[in-house]
């Protein structure tokens, strides 16, 4: 029965189980159909970009942990790459490989969480999340071995990484590399071909490549729309140019394709890590800066305060969520003059309205889950 009903405004969030944090979506509904969708952001705004202008370059690294707190390795990496570019520092080979390995491990961990939460948004009662978290825990264990932290890692340093990995790290990582393919096969078996997930995700939240590019979308969302674009291939950084891997793309641009792309990327990440572990050379893991003062224990390689030359630099990497870029302007002082983050979570959310209109409430939640945003990064 089609009934002309009153437009009905529903606020999804800021306190809601599906907004992955404090994000607010204002939906105008006609029955169950969405006729308008507005995003309200800023509930988690911590003014990081401004705060960073008052701190030294080294002190800013922990901020990058806390923007995208689900993938702090990549946040670190993008920032230190920007500063290195600004100062013209060459990073040692081993550090490049360590960065690559860590970034890919982080990608697996982040995608695990994204897929689990996505299945949760499809209505699974926590089971996929818990299974995915099992893998994520193993990866966080590896991080803990390498740098002592599990979530806010603060591992990358300007000129390298904070410390070399311990001896038992590589065997443990290799053991994980052996386990994970079995798990991925299990997920593909249980989720990829799950009739209900297919029914919920296929044809929902379609984004054509034109729309995606017009909205400057990046990462798995762009690849889900069928555009083979990956910063790791297009503009290689760290050790990616020495490694052999593929870009996973979808063909329909719907929620299911984003899901499929993430699953495939996790396998590619494994592939990358395996190669990197094999060919990783020895040597130092950090480049000493000219004015460096070695701190007790030799942990920190960059001094607390140094002054890069006047200039600006933009470094971008492929974070689990998309193209993460740091734009830094230096006025020659000890802290950045301008510190800007191109946050993929934020930009990937922009076509949300486009995808949500015409869908149902349940679809909107699934679409939101497929964007895989982290509110810390959206609001910074």
């Amino acid at each position: 029965m089609t009934i002309k009903s009153e437009p009905f405004v529903v606020n999804v969030g800021p306190q809601h189980p599906s907004t992955h944090g404090v994000f607010r979506l204002r939906l105008t509904l006609d029955g169950e159909k969405i006729i308008d969708a507005d995003m309200v952001m800023g509930y988690l705004h911590r003014s990081m970009e401004k705060l960073a202008e008052e701190r030294t370059y080294t002190q800013n690294i922990p901020f990058t942990d806390r923007t995208d707190y689900v993938a702090s390795m990549t946040g670190n990496l993008a920032y230190v790459m920007a500063v290195e570019k600004l100062m013209g520092i060459e990073v040692p080979e081993r550090a490049q490989f360590l960065r690559t390995i860590m970034a890919e491990l982080q990608r697996i961990a982040s995608h695990s969480m994204a897929l689990g939460i996505f299945a949760n948004d499809c209505g699974a009662w926590q089971t996929p999340v818990m299974h995915m978290f099992r893998d994520r825990e193993k990866i966080l264990d590896l991080f803990e071995m390498a740098c002592g932290a599990r979530l806010t890692l603060n591992y990358m340093r300007i000129g390298g990484v904070s410390r070399d990995i311990p001896d038992e790290w590589i065997p443990q990582a290799q053991k994980l590399m052996e386990d994970l393919p079995k798990r991925f096969a299990e997920y593909e078996d249980l989720l990829l071909h799950n009739e209900i997930i297919v029914a919920r995700a296929r044809g929902v939240g379609v984004l054509t490549p034109e729309q995606a590019m017009a909205h400057s979308v990046s990462g798995p969302m762009l690849r889900g729309s069928g555009v083979a674009w990956d910063v790791r291939k297009a503009d290689p950084y760290a050790a990616y140019d020495k490694i052999d891997f593929d870009i996973a793309v979808g063909t329909n641009g719907d929620v299911y394709d984003r899901f499929v792309v993430r699953l495939a990327e996790m396998r590619q990440s494994l592939h990358i890590i395996e190669q990197a572990l094999e060919v990783m050379p020895g040597g130092p893991v950090h480049e000493r800066l000219g004015t460096a003062t070695v701190q007790p224990g030799g942990q920190s390689i960059a001094p607390l305060a140094f002054r890069p030359p006047v200039g600006e630099a933009y470094a971008r990497i492929e974070s689990p969520r998309g193209e993460l870029g740091y734009y830094i302007v230096s006025d020659g002082g000890p802290s950045p003059f301008r510190f800007h983050i191109r946050a993929p979570s934020f930009i990937n959310l922009t076509p949300l309205k486009l995808m949500a209109i015409g869908a149902t409430v349940a679809d909107a939640i699934v679409i939101l889950g497929s964007v895989d945003f982290v509110v810390g990064e959206v609001d910074r």
């Binding site: 606020n11 209505g123 009662w125 990829l192 071909h193 799950n194 329909n252 641009g253």
Partner: protein, 415 residues
């Protein structure tokens, strides 16, 4: 021999006997006697229900935890056994909040009304040979009718909360419950036509006499009944009315404290009610091919009931949720035609059996085989007709490429 025990007060195979003996021994007026007997029986059922709910809250959490690679509650009491008690205490001690703009009377009535049908159903459930509170001639119909009271209760709860999620969920729930009530009725109708009685005791003794369970005769009806039951008790993949990730907590979003506790408990009670009726109708109730002479019938019944309920726990731990329109399509386009066909088929079989006068040893296996084969053919064929292949055919994996910048988009398929 068990026969010697029949009817004696120490015959624990049927708990109704000792109670009857005790009350009859008092020599009261028949009215008082009747009231006393009803009170004791109701109290026994209530006690069992509450204990079962407490047990199953724990069991469900532990079982689902096993499915999810974690331990589940294990801190309060041995192996976390007291966790439900602690939860209940917490709910009792919480402040009872009423939202501003809520309809206070209906807000208060909602959890009360939803409790009634879930408990009243057990009045007609035969726990054992004489363990049935009200041996109604229209027991099957009574169960369906009473379960129907849940629908207005859900609406009143959702509407009176003055909350948009609750309202939206209430509307969804009503649409769902009404649709699946039809499926439920048709599924049970097939069983009733086949047995020729709506009395639950008669249905159990028929299955005992013919040494078969209805599940072997009409598997499709059982599946349909369990699916419709999952809708009624909000279990995955039909937990749309309290879809956590979409609508916070559905129609009881605004309820807190013990009022929420009522909804929580009513959900389990309704689950037990579905499991109890499925057990009675399709799994032979308290009989187990003669073993009920040795094992108390109520233990057999409870074992079967819990086994059926476990299916719901299992599905909750493993399945994602359907969308409301998909669920409605499933009800009206898929289940309804199949169920109508099923009823016609069963009716035809009954007539043919009567006309040919075949012996039961020939007729029952034949009917069972025909029904199972037809169910498989119908389900697969109808699904194909509606455009659903097997799940494996519909999923696919990503394309791998190295050509940066190339566009692989082929256009979205219609969902």
């Amino acid at each position: 021999m068990p026969i010697l025990l029949r009817g004696e007060w120490y015959d624990l195979r049927d708990l109704a006997n000792p109670v009857r003996e005790l009350i009859d021994g008092l020599g009261l007026v028949s009215e008082v006697d009747y009231v006393l007997w009803s009170l004791i029986a109701s109290l026994a059922i209530l006690t069992w229900l509450v204990l079962s709910v407490l047990a199953f809250i724990w069991i469900e959490r532990r079982v689902v935890a096993r499915m999810q690679n974690r331990k589940g509650p294990n801190r309060v009491g041995p192996a976390g056994l007291l966790q439900p008690v602690a939860d209940a205490l917490k709910l009792l001690l919480k402040e009872a909040i009423t939202t501003r703009g809520a309809d206070r009377l209906l807000f208060w009535l909602g959890p009360v009304i939803i409790f009634i049908p879930t408990i009243v159903v057990f009045a007609v459930v035969p726990f054992g040979e004489s363990m049935v509170l009200a041996d109604l001639n229209v027991g099957v119909l009574f169960m369906i009718a009473v379960a129907g009271i849940m629908t207005p209760a859900v609406f009143l709860a959702g509407w009176s909360s003055n909350n948009k999620y609750a309202m939206l969920a209430a509307m969804r729930t009503i649409a769902m419950l009404i649709s699946y009530e039809i499926i439920q009725v048709l599924a049970l109708l097939a069983a009733v036509i086949f047995i020729g009685s709506m009395n639950l005791q008669t249905i159990v003794s028929w299955q005992d006499e013919y040494n078969t369970w209805l599940i072997f005769i009409m598997p499709l009806a059982l599946v349909a009944y369990l699916v419709a039951g999952a809708v009624e008790i909000n279990r995955s993949p039909m937990d749309i009315s309290e879809a956590e990730s979409e609508l916070a907590a559905g129609y009881h979003t605004e309820y807190g404290g013990i009022k929420f506790g009522f909804f929580y408990q009513a959900e389990y009670l309704a689950g037990f009610a579905i499991a109890a009726s499925a057990t009675t109708l399709f799994f032979g109730g308290w009989t187990l091919w003669g073993l009920e002479e040795w094992i108390p019938g109520w233990l057999i019944f409870l074992g079967k009931l819990y086994a059926v309920f476990f299916v719901y726990i299992w599905s909750r731990g493993t399945l994602p949720r359907l969308r409301i329109d998909q669920l409605m399509t499933f009800a009206w386009k898929f289940m309804l035609p199949l169920m109508i066909l099923n009823v016609l088929l069963v009716a035809a079989e009954v007539v043919i059996w009567e006309e040919t006068g075949a012996s039961r040893n020939v007729a029952l296996p034949a009917i069972g085989a025909v029904n199972a084969a037809l169910a498989a053919v119908l389900v697969i064929g109808w699904a194909r007709f509606l455009g659903h292949g097997s799940g494996r055919g519909r999923g696919y994996s990503a394309t791998l490429t190295r050509e940066v910048g190339k566009i692989y988009y082929t256009g979205a398929e219609a969902s």
